[in-house]
């Protein structure tokens, strides 16, 4: 695998496509964490996940790509949008989406990126994988899941069930002992307090 590494200066078409998709994904991810509108963030998340699904396709993992589209784009982001709406978040631009922790967060994130990128480049400079279609198809993957990985798969189904019950218990207010009546002063306050200070 390490022999005959092609030059980085002559990228193949697949690599170019992947890099473009990667750039789209990174850029939309940046917009997700920096936009001032909640709903826009969710929509940029869709773009990011879509670009990642394209990246999976280029990497010959086609089944994973479709699952990504179905679950992430179809389910998760829709859930997020519901959440946004149910918490009556402001739809338009809001200035207080970032907490006062921004500078620290930026420093930590940049440091994380620098270290990870440095290490990754340092470690996998010579790694090269020729792409051949086939191994990521639904057939191959299905066979693998239901043969080798069937036990984790079943365990995962139990986990999903637990998550389902947990979500129901958390959401419902009429389960005895689950939810006391709202305190009166809770009701008297309808909007989040205009506390903009944050910070330390």
């Amino acid at each position: 695998m390490t022999e005959a590494v092609p030059s980085y200066l002559s990228p193949t078409g697949q690599e170019i496509v992947f890099l473009l998709l990667g750039a789209v994904a990174v850029g939309s991810a940046l917009l997700v964490v920096t936009t001032r509108q909640l709903v826009h963030a969710a929509l940029w998340l869709v773009v990011c996940f879509g670009a990642l699904a394209g990246g999976y396709l280029v990497l010959t993992a086609e089944f994973v790509a479709w699952v990504q589209v179905l679950i992430y784009v179809g389910a998760v982001v829709v859930l997020m949008l519901f959440g946004i709406m149910l918490t009556r978040a402001p739809i338009g631009r809001s200035a207080d989406l970032d907490s006062g922790n921004r500078v620290v967060a930026a420093v930590v994130a940049v440091a994380t990126a620098a270290i990870l990128v440095t290490v990754v480049i340092d470690g996998f400079r010579t790694a090269y994988a020729p792409l051949t279609p086939g191994p990521g198809s639904a057939r191959e993957l299905g066979a693998s899941v239901f043969a080798t990985w069937v036990l984790p798969f079943e365990a995962l189904s139990v986990l999903l069930l637990a998550a389902l019950i947990g979500a129901i218990v958390l959401s419902r207010t009429d389960i005895p002992g689950g939810e006391p009546a709202d305190p009166p002063d809770d009701l008297s306050r309808s909007t989040p307090p205009p506390d903009q200070t944050g910070g330390h």
Binding site: P6, T12, E15, A25, V26, V32, V33, L38, A41, F49, L52, G55, Y56, V58, L59, F63, V64, V67, Q68, I71, Y72, V76, M80, G83, I84, L86, T87, R88, A89, D98, N101, R102, A105, A106, A109, A113, V117, V120, F124, A127, Y128, A129, L131, P135, G136, L141, S144, V145, L156, L170, T173, G178, D182, P183, P192, P193, D195, T197, G198, G199
Partner: protein, 134 residues
């Protein structure tokens, strides 16, 4: 395909997710940032599965599992956020200060008011003492 490409993209995505988790105030945005981090991991898993040519496809299968778990996590997380919103009428994460050391729990030495310099970030302290997140 050079493995460095997906690896670097994943690293960048992960760092962006870190920034989002640390910097965003709205809890739902924090959840989105967590999803970004999970996707960065997924991309790594797929890329290394391709590079190693694993016949059992452990990387891709694990990706599937992660996606499923992420979906469950988002469901639960949103349920928690909604319960939080019902109780507190806010989902701003820096307004949730129940972990803070309550001020005035010990006699202060005369002349030294270490707490005096700290701002009250949260004017809802009495309510928060009443009911924690369920």
């Amino acid at each position: 395909m050079h493995i460095v490409y997906p690896a670097v993209v994943a690293a960048l995505l992960f760092s962006i997710g870190v920034y989002g988790v640390l910097a965003r105030r709205n809890t739902i945005l924090v959840l989105m940032s967590v999803e970004l981090m999970l996707n960065a991991v997924n991309l790594n898993l797929v890329a290394f599965d391709v590079w190693l040519g694993d016949r059992l496809h452990s990387g891709q299968v694990l990706t599937l599992f992660v996606i499923v778990i992420a979906a469950a996590e988002v469901g639960l997380g949103l349920a928690i956020v909604l319960a939080l919103y019902r109780n507190r009428r806010t989902v701003d994460i820096d307004h949730l200060r129940d972990l803070a050391e309550p001020p005035g729990d010990r006699p202060r030495p005369p002349g030294a008011h270490p707490d005096g310099r700290r701002e009250r970030h949260d004017d809802e302290q009495p309510v928060q003492r009443g009911g924690g997140p369920r």
